[in-house]
């Protein structure tokens, strides 16, 4: 299986990095690598949408935030005062609620993380479906603006809602026990385990997306991207394929949002912000658009640097600048850059179409 050799290499790299940080006593790097892994899931999903199906979304931070905020809200909202109401009793009976104590010893009864995650992800997918139907009829700039509008709405809703903690966001989100002993949590002792959880998710997502782009569906998506009219005439329901891809990438963003929120123990409105969406688009672009590996590599590297504070207070500006530079010099992305030729062309006075 030739297509999976790079994935084995990735797995080896993931393990090597963990061992290296252990030997050098620098396991603190794993925290940012875990977070970068989750962001990478958003980015490769967006890469499928932008690079393969040819549809832009400037609202993907919105889907990430819907995933994160919904699971945060559902797993922290204390239902103890409703515990005698029928619906709470019923949920409890089916094991859908989880009781615990917060930091101050107060008893909390809230949604079980699995159920919360499921609700959050289904909600994000449903919203993607509902807005995707009208919005994906648009093309180019219009699609960009419509998805940007969606992202702004989501941001404002989270910022303005008391139930989502307004400007403070939601904190105190409990760990997410995926399996017995496998818990998505930011607690100090679980650092190595959580690094592996995140990168398992990345690898699983990569396997599925690599399979997809090499399948009948992937061919159909590339055909739509290249010549939509002819694709339709060959029997491809172009509107449906675009919509399904949009929903799939929104779901991946929401899954990442759920995981990262449990890992961080909370989520704030900046995760829903437009600058986050721009960052995701910039990272897909810098990775080479129709290049899952490029999106993954650039996404992890640049997010890691950003999380380490490498860009200082210019953080958002850096990603904006990356987008501009890529569009000017290397629309095919950095990893396929033939810089010398591009520069020559640019300075010979030629202009791009």
């Amino acid at each position: 299986m030739k297509r999976f050799l790079p994935l084995l290499a990735l797995l080896a790299l993931v393990i090597s990095i963990q061992l290296l940080t252990q030997w050098t006593g620098t396991t603190y790097y794993l925290t940012q690598l875990t977070m970068s892994g989750y962001y990478a899931v958003v980015i490769i999903g967006l890469c499928l949408l932008m690079g393969y199906a040819g549809q832009i979304s400037l609202g993907h931070a919105g889907f990430f935030a819907i995933g994160g905020y919904m699971s945060a809200m559902l797993t922290t909202r204390n239902l103890i005062s409703f515990q005698n109401q029928d619906w709470v009793v019923l949920l409890d009976k089916f094991g859908l609620l989880a009781a615990r104590q917060d930091l101050y010893g107060e008893a909390i009864l809230a949604f079980q993380p699995w159920l919360a995650a499921l609700i959050a992800i289904v909600l994000a997918g449903t919203i993607a479906l509902i807005i995707g139907i009208p919005v994906l009829k648009l093309k180019g700039h219009y699609l960009a603006m419509a998805t940007l509008g969606f992202g702004i709405i989501v941001y404002r809703v989270f910022l303005a809602s008391e139930i989502f903690g307004e400007a403070d966001g939601i904190s105190g989100v409990p760990g997410f026990p995926l399996l017995p002993g496998v818990i998505v949590t930011g607690s100090f002792g679980a650092r190595v385990g959580n690094y592996y959880i995140a990168w398992t998710l990345v690898i699983v997502a990569m396997v599925m997306l690599i399979n997809l782009i090499n399948s009948r569906v992937g061919r159909a998506l590339r055909a739509i991207h290249g010549a939509e009219e002819a694709a339709n005439a060959m029997g491809i329901d172009t509107a449906r394929y675009k919509l399904k891809t949009f929903v799939l990438s929104a779901v991946l963003a929401a899954v990442a949002g759920v995981f990262l929120t449990h890992y961080n123990g909370g989520i704030g409105p900046s995760e829903a912000g437009v600058m986050k969406s721009v960052r995701y688009v910039a990272l897909v672009a810098v990775g080479g658009m129709a290049n899952l590996w490029g999106a993954l590599i650039m996404g992890v590297t640049l997010n890691f640097l950003s999380l380490r504070g490498f860009f200082g207070s210019y953080d958002d500006a850096v990603f904006g600048a990356i987008l501009i530079v890529i569009m000017l010099f290397a629309p095919e992305g950095l990893l396929r850059l033939n810089l010398a030729a591009k520069l020559k062309k640019l300075f010979s006075g030629g202009s791009r179409k």
Binding site: S215, R216, A223, M234
Partner: protein, 254 residues
Amino acid sequence: MTILEINNLNKSFGGLQAVQDVGFGVEEHRIKAVIGPNGAGKTTLFNLISGTLPFDSGSVVFKGEELRGLKPYQIAERGMARTYQNIKLFPGMSALENVMVGRHTRSRAGFVAGMLNLPATGREEAEIRGKAMELLGLLEIEHLADIEAGSLAFGQQRAVEFARALAAEPAMLLLDEPAAGLNMNETAEVARLISKIRDLGITVLLVEHDMSLVMDISDEIVVLSFGQKIAEDLPAAIQQNQEVIEIYLGGGDD
């Protein structure tokens, strides 16, 4: 048996009546040609039949079913495939992949099957690839399989587009000026190929503004001029038709 029945078809673009009250039928397993000078409305007629453009009035009945309101992909699913006057291949995909896309209506794997790459999906992929290679072989371009479609020579691109349409194993094939831009040898080649396709049991509706190609291979010919049908007959009779001769000799618009 009539496989395609067109009645009183009308289409205007603003003030221009591109197709006016056109009607004719196409018999199964035949080659029918639509000829006429440039701008006669031939491509527009194809766009109406294949669902690319909606028509203003009239009807198109394919295999007993009215096509009005169906999207192009739905018409393709019903067994109609087409090629374009100005070739529309999928850029950035190899010749083989282009033809594999043509197999879309004959295969099933969806998003979930694609992501999981189930054994059945793998078998289907192999079938798609095999069939596509077979068609590249039929068109004698199997050596071009892995070359990016956009970088092929013009005649080769036409062949790939042909193979892509055939990959759907259509009941009916619409060919819009398949010989446009080809030299005489290549045109003769295309003529042989179209006859071969008919012999495979596929009905062919062919648009051409060059009479030489169609006279030899067509079973019947419809002549369009300024959006209207002015004649419909056997090739020999069309060749003798005074009005047709006048259009072709007198029109001289290209």
